[in-house]
């Protein structure tokens, strides 16, 4: 039974999270929802890191170390993205990404 084999299960879960994130990036116009999608995709990547490191022949610790870096960088990305959203809201009174045309040439 496929469901009970270890590595493919985690791969499928992270694949599902990636698909949800891609759907959000395509379908949503609210900037905060786009940030949600990016966070979900990063989470899927981190799950993959940890799962592949765990089920290596001799378990690797490098996957865990790198997921620490990935989590830290995701935090910086969220901070900068939220600051940009706040600033865009102050300037345009809206965070619909199709309405943000100020930088268009």
């Amino acid at each position: 039974m496929i469901l009970l084999e270890p590595l493919i299960n985690y791969f499928i879960v992270s694949l599902a999270l990636l698909s949800v994130g891609i759907y959000g990036l395509i379908a949503k116009r609210n900037a905060i929802r786009l940030l949600f999608s990016v966070e979900i995709i990063i989470n899927a990547a981190i799950i993959n890191f940890v799962a592949f490191a765990r089920y290596y022949d001799t378990p690797l610790l490098t996957g865990q170390t790198f997921s620490l870096f990935a989590i830290a960088l995701a935090a910086t990305e969220a901070a900068v993205g939220l600051a940009i959203i706040v600033q865009a809201f102050r300037l345009n009174n809206d965070i619909d990404v199709l309405e943000l045309k100020r930088l268009r040439g």
Binding site: G21, I46, R54
Partner: protein, 163 residues
């Protein structure tokens, strides 16, 4: 037992991720996102990576989710409740389903499905620490610089006065 826990946790994680994008009210979406992160932390515990789970709860659920909730309170408007995007939505669903089905189908024929013997070696936290300091010290310092720069940048941008 582990399989039941795994199936429940992974279903909850994906379901909360979908709910985070689809919830009508943005605040409920943020809460669902935090719960989805908690589910991912539970997956890390199932993978014997307790330290990553702790870090995930501290950073994602503790700080990012709270930050998102505060920003939603700052930029909240009633109009968003009724935003509907028909064609983009169908396009997104088609793209997501295509991506998921093709990658899942092709991954079923790779060596991912082979049953590996479960490793008996358990990790200990101190090895992560020594690896961080010895082998990846440059990356650690660069991450620190990136954190500092992003926090300063975020503060400067948020403080910017409206003209």
């Amino acid at each position: 037992m582990t399989d039941v826990v795994f199936i429940t946790v992974s279903l909850l994680t994906v379901a909360f991720a979908i709910l985070a994008l689809e919830a009508r009210e943005l605040v409920y979406g943020a809460v669902a996102l935090a719960l989805s992160f908690l589910g991912a932390a539970a997956l890390f515990i199932l993978l014997d990576s307790i330290f990553i789970a702790i870090f995930q709860v501290l950073v994602y659920v503790g700080s990012i989710a709270i930050l998102i909730v505060f920003v939603i309170m700052l930029v909240r408007r009633e109009k968003w409740v009724s935003i509907q995007s028909g064609t983009e939505r169908t396009l997104g669903i088609i793209a997501a389903v295509l991506l998921f089905s093709t990658m899942a189908y092709f991954s079923l024929s790779t060596s991912l499905t082979t049953q590996y013997p479960t490793p008996t070696v358990l990790f200990n936290f101190s090895e992560i620490g020594s690896q961080l300091v010895n082998e990846y010290s440059i990356i650690l310092q660069l991450t620190g610089i990136a954190l500092a720069v992003s926090v300063i940048g975020a503060l400067t941008m948020a403080k910017f006065e409206n003209r």
